[in-house]
């Protein structure tokens, strides 16, 4: 009987719209979790996939010595694809010309991720159909062709190679405008026949791996501890990837926003559940009067809530998958084609629906079930009062449980729960104080404002609770809005529309003017010109530095950098640089050092550094340490000197500029007119980066939309709850002849005042929250959002007032008798 009655009640209440709020709240929570879990998993794979193209693999071992075969064997055992390659510098000869080149010798299967872009008469195409150079063949970078006047073949060591294809870009070429020697690509098994690798030769050995994430992780936990100090583990999130930072921040943001979205949806469930139970008080009293047993009532309402939850969960799951489908339709085909397993999002969605519905409803349900039958005669009687602490405890536990299931991170979950709790307490205190501050005003029924103020004061306690609801929704909305905006604009700043897509390096001083004139004549504006002096850091505070090779050979001493550095001079701090300590180059013999390299070499402010440049010694003092944003695709320098320090040495220059796609002729002209100038095209890389940023932005926008929905639902649920406390009063005033206009205005004003206070409180708390998040989690610049101080209270007032008036209009359309009865 109970089950059929529960079904009947559920069906009718659903059709009559009484379950809209609670079903919507459950649906939204489930939809958020399911949709976000699936979309973020898909995007994560997409982002990692894109990012892995930058390293042509998912993971890399980079080593100065031959990589142990045991790594390869383990990778094979785990079913990972792998490719070995070598990289070294060598001279190539073509007739009477010679050139230093960087040789990439790659094994079959290269690249595991991404494509080799080749040039042809008809433009750029990928090497997919072409595979790799054949034995005895060599693929070359465009500028090598220019430098050696396009010979048919060239010599590398003892071996003659035919030039077969022109490379536009290798996927893992990276961004290094200083890579002055052109790259050539040969087969790995051709290296031995060249005879250029001798014991002691400087070679970088690379083992690249790709495969399923789980296997990769297992491989990582196997391989990482076994690496020597000179070997490096590289993945898409290693600092070397230009998008690592963006991806990490986006991941953090997505997780945080999702958790807050879930918390908001849960809050909406909590409020809706209270209303849901309250509406059934009379039914329970009546059923008990007619002799329903405790078990019958428990079964009836347990089943009823189960049906409501099942319905909400089903809608939520469908909505989540629809959301995923919609988002997927915006994604590139290769990403859309990948379908992550359904099981995790479904399980998460189910857990969210049931945990949130039952734990948030537990206390209201307990009260409902304890409603005494005598309520049929004495309407003021309610169920047991165990206190709000129990409700709070159950709700926070539900939130924590869900947060943990979703994020799998206990610290993050506890932080969010503690934050929500703190937010609630803070808002309650502030809200209560602000309402108490209002002057006591009598109950006058002629003026809507006085009626509204009187209402606010009389219901101070309920209003404080409502304020918490309204403000929390606004705080979280503002926080997510601001973070998303800041992240997007930061990425936009890194890669502005006219970001330089070409770099010119090796510009000799006597070519500088002619090149400048040429570019000017072709209306190409260079953005920056940096002088470059090559030099080696040899001593710190008089202590001689040793190389990694020397250290390996047993030499004692302080470890230095085993290569020549590109040094520059600047009068002012370059953009994308930030002084962390000291003052930028105030004296002639000052030098500014990048903080990462300073940390690695143990350099501090005041240290003296000795360089050898053109066989001459230069001693300078460290005056400042700088943070450099490497991800900006701008030329960045470890060491920046004053002009006076470097003036005596010979230098070349480098420049960068943005070239429209339709002006490619300029590049060919530069190659012809200035053959010694190297041109580096980073346009393709920028396009790929933009694609990643676009995908990340999409996910951020998606989360924002869900947070907006969740906030709106909390506001609607809260208004609904607020109207319930006002219903009887409205009925009485209506009965005594108050006009609909007066009541709507008074309700609107009361809610508008509440909304204003909520908006104001929300800005205060949001600024504080943002300060903490930006400084502690996202490393973003902190600033005040002044426009919010005006917009948030106004928007809060308008939204809440409109919701209140809308609900009031609905109530006033009923007869007084109905209102009094329902109230």
């Amino acid at each position: 009987m109970e089950i059929s009655l529960a079904w009947r009640l559920f069906k009718r209440e659903l059709l009559q719209g009484q379950l809209v709020l609670i079903v919507l709240a459950i649906t939204l929570a489930v939809l958020s979790v399911t949709g976000l879990a699936r979309v973020s998993e898909r995007l994560q794979i997409a982002i990692n996939g894109q990012a892995s193209k930058f390293i042509a693999a998912d993971r890399i071992i980079n080593s100065p010595v031959k990589i142990d075969e045991s790594f390869i064997a383990k990778a094979e055992e785990l079913g990972l694809a792998h490719v070995s390659s070598m990289q070294f510098n060598s001279m190539v000869f073509a007739e009477d010309k010679f050139q230093l080149v960087t040789v990439r010798a790659v094994g079959e299967g290269y690249p595991l991720k991404g494509k080799i872009e080749l040039n042809s008469d008809s433009g750029t195409h990928s090497a997919e159909g072409t595979g790799l150079p054949g034995s005895g063949q060599l693929w070359f970078e465009t500028r090598l062709g220019g430098l050696l006047a396009y010979p048919e073949s060239l010599e590398l060591g003892n071996r003659q190679f035919t030039l077969s294809e022109e490379i536009s870009r290798l996927p893992d070429a990276g961004f290094n405008p200083f890579a002055s020697s052109p790259v050539v690509l040969i087969r790995l098994d051709d290296v031995a026949s060249t005879g250029v690798i001798q014991p002691g030769s400087r070679v970088t050995y690379l083992a690249q791996f790709s495969g399923a994430e789980e296997q990769l992780k297992r491989f990582e936990s196997y391989a990482k501890p076994k690496l020597t100090s000179s070997q490096r583990w590289v993945d898409v999130q290693s600092g070397e990837s230009p998008i690592a930072d963006a991806v990490k921040r986006a991941e953090r943001f997505l997780l945080l926003a999702s958790l807050l979205g879930i918390a908001l949806a849960c809050a909406a469930i909590g409020i809706a559940a209270q209303r849901y139970c309250h509406r059934h008080y009379d039914v329970v009293a009546m059923l008990k009067t007619f002799g329903a047993s405790g078990r019958q009532i428990r079964t009836l309402f347990g089943m009823h809530l189960l049906l409501v939850t099942l319905f909400g969960v089903t809608l939520g799951l469908l909505g989540g998958f629809a959301l995923d489908a919609i988002i997927t339709s915006f994604l590139p085909e290769e990403i859309a084609a990948y379908s992550p397993p359904f099981i995790r999002p479904i399980l998460l969605g189910l857990a969210t629906g049931f945990i949130s519905a039952f734990m948030f409803s537990a206390y209201p349900l307990m009260r409902l079930l304890s409603i005494p039958p005598l309520r049929v005669l004495q309407r003021q009687l309610e169920g047991l009062q165990l206190g709000m602490w129990l409700h709070l405890l159950l709700s926070l536990s539900a939130m924590a449980l869900l947060g943990y299931l979703y994020s799998k991170s206990l610290p993050l979950t506890l932080t969010v729960v503690a934050g929500v709790l703190l937010l609630g307490v803070l808002l309650s205190i502030l809200g209560f104080l602000m309402i108490r501050m209002g002057h006591s005003i009598g109950m006058k029924t002629t003026n809507p404002l006085q009626l509204a103020l009187a209402g606010l004061r009389r219901r101070a306690k309920q209003n404080a609770v409502q304020l918490v609801g309204f403000s929390s929704a606004l705080v979280l909305l503002l926080t997510i809005l601001a973070l998303r905006q800041d992240l997007l604009s930061e990425w936009q700043n890194q890669l502005p529309e006219n970001a330089p897509n070409y770099f010119l390096v090796n510009i000799s001083p006597d070519e500088e003017a002619a090149l400048g004139d040429y570019l000017k004549a072709n209306t190409v504006k260079t953005t920056d010109i940096y002088p470059v002096v090559r030099g080696r850091l040899t001593e710190i505070n008089g202590e001689r530095l040793i190389s990694a090779e020397q250290e390996k050979a047993g030499a004692k001493g302080r470890l230095g950098i085993s290569r020549e550095l590109n040094l520059t001079w600047r009068d002012a701090l370059p953009p994308n640089n930030e002084i962390l300590e000291g003052e930028f180059n105030a004296n002639e013999d000052d030098v500014s050092v990048e903080s990462g390299v300073a940390e690695r070499l143990g350099i501090k402010i005041g240290d003296s550094l000795t360089y050898v440049i053109d066989n001459q010694r230069l001693v300078v003092n460290v005056a400042s340490l700088r943070a450099v944003h490497w991800e900006t695709l701008q030329p960045n320098f470890f060491m920046i000197f004053t002009h006076a320090s470097l003036a005596p040495f010979s230098h070349t220059s480098m420049a960068s500029f943005h070239l429209e796609d339709n002006k490619q002729g300029v590049i060919l002209d530069i190659i012809k007119q200035f053959p010694t100038v190297s041109i580096i095209d980073v346009g393709t890389m920028i396009k790929q980066l933009r694609q990643i940023i676009d995908q990340v932005s999409l996910s951020l926008t998606l989360v924002l939309v869900l947070v907006v929905l969740a906030s709106s639902l909390v506001m609607i649920a809260q208004t609904e709850a607020g109207m319930a406390t006002r219903q009887r009063e409205l009925a009485v005033l209506r009965t005594f002849g108050a006009s609909g206009w007066l009541l709507r205005m008074a309700t609107g004003l009361e809610f508008a005042l509440l909304g204003t206070v909520a908006g104001f409180l929300a800005v205060i708390v949001a600024e504080f929250t943002l300060y903490l998040l930006k400084t502690q989690v996202f490393e973003l610049n902190v600033y005040m959002h002044w426009p919010w101080w005006g917009i948030a209270p106004v928007c809060g007032a308008l939204t809440v007032a409109l919701l209140g008036v809308w609900r009031c209009r609905q109530l006033l359309s009923k007869s007084c008798a109905d209102l009094l009865k329902a109230g």
């Binding site: 009640l9 009546m286 009067t289 002799g291 047993s293 039958p373």
Partner: protein, 250 residues
Amino acid sequence: MSEVSAITVKNLVKSVATQEGELTILNGINMDVKQGQSIAILGPSGSGKSTLLGLLAALDTPTSGEIILDGVALQSLDEEKKAALRKQKVSFIFQSFMLVDTLNALENVMLPAELAGINRAKEKAEAMLERVGLSHRLTHFPNQLSGGEQQRVAIARAFICEPKVLFADEPTGNLDAVNSEKVANMLFELNRECETTLVLVTHDLVLAKRCERQLLMDTGVITESPGEPSDGSALSSKPAPSHLASVEAL
């Protein structure tokens, strides 16, 4: 009318704690109602009528005293047993009808029968609704019915389980004169047919006079109304208050 008691009340006291101290609502009530008898309890607001009704119907617990309902001493029962007793023997009609808004007329009437596990609840409910003249309103929801119709649905609901005792709290309180008359006729007709004991709390003297006995409540004390035939089964240990005339005038 049977000589067997349906309700026996002995020294019934109900007190509640208030901020000003203990307030006695019912002060030593003694009464006896025979099976099939109809009694009206009259009295001014706050006299304790509804409190008495709640106690008699096993909805509330007395401070002291004894109530025997159809041979069962209520004080010996816990809440679950009281609920079971209500399910088997008792039914109700309320001033505010207390219909479930989201169930239609038929489903509202079926409700007590379903709770009691009675077979063919639907057919019985249909018959009851036909009996109260609402066979054309089976699928209507409470908000689609007039006040009089809603109370007729409530009457059908009250009789579906053929209760031994029916408690009615101001059954015509929310109705106009015409509907009051209709509802009252129906109530007494069914009451006679089913030989139900009727305990009716009302302000309406006309309605009260249709009952076989009228009891007057004032400040927690009950007395038999003067001038009405009494079979001596109703007892009052205390003299009638002097201002009973005002109750009569209600």
